[in-house]
Symmetry: C2
Subunit: 108 residues, 2 copies
DNA sequence: TTCTTATTTCGCAAAAATACGAAATATATT
DNA sequence: AATATATTTCGTATTTTTGCGAAATAAGAA
């Protein structure tokens, strides 16, 4: 039957993508991945959202496995989760690299 | 002030990511990008969802700009939207390539 | 014109995401 | 022990997403 058309890979990729599906979270990830290694809630000062809301976004990124945090009282330092980042990179890379553009015949 | 911390690029990337944030849509995009160029609702036969639901997913991918459809009565043929695909590729590429892994000091 | 096929839109319900402020937590400092 | 700081959890409201079946649409074939 059509049991396993949707693989766990599709689900994993969707999970990563979903986590990136909000501008604030894109911003956070961008910052963590390029600016420096780790970070904390100085984010709150930059972003036009309540701290509790930011916290939820961080939680989502964490539960998607894209970031991780370590306690450095009284702060919490966040950084990219290297392992899953590598995975995400691979998944997105695979998906995005294989492009067979539409021949003009087809979709105008 | 903090007016423009979130740029339209963040929003665009989030829009693309959000569109990919569901296993069914990942499957569709994967199929359209690698298998052949164009496609139609034979998807409905493969996927364990109602046709109306599939239609909604296609609509979302379309409104995110990732795919486009052309009418070939009585069918509709879908394919990747090359232009936006290129854009998405660039955006995701930028985000994913720049990885400065956490030094061990930081997050354990 | 009526029928068939492929697909979408509509109306609805259930679940999840987004956002906030207030209260809770945890840990250093006084 | 009391206070201050950084952050999260809780309770709540609003909006969006997901999913379905039934009805609507569009176009070719009989």
């Amino acid at each position: 039957m059509d049991t396993n058309i949707l693989t766990s890979d599709h689900e994993q990729l969707a999970r990563f993508a979903k986590a990136l599906g909000h501008p604030v979270r894109v911003y956070i990830i961008e910052l963590l991945s390029k600016q420096s290694c780790c970070f904390s809630g100085d984010l709150a000062e930059d972003l036009p959202i309540a701290r509790s809301t930011l916290s939820q976004h961080l939680k989502e990124l964490k539960s998607a496995g894209l970031i991780q945090g370590s306690i450095e009282p009284p702060k919490i330092r966040y950084c990219i989760n290297g392992e899953n980042w590598e995975l995400a990179r691979k998944f997105f890379g695979n998906l995005l690299q294989t492009t067979k553009p539409c021949d003009e015949q087809c979709c105008n």
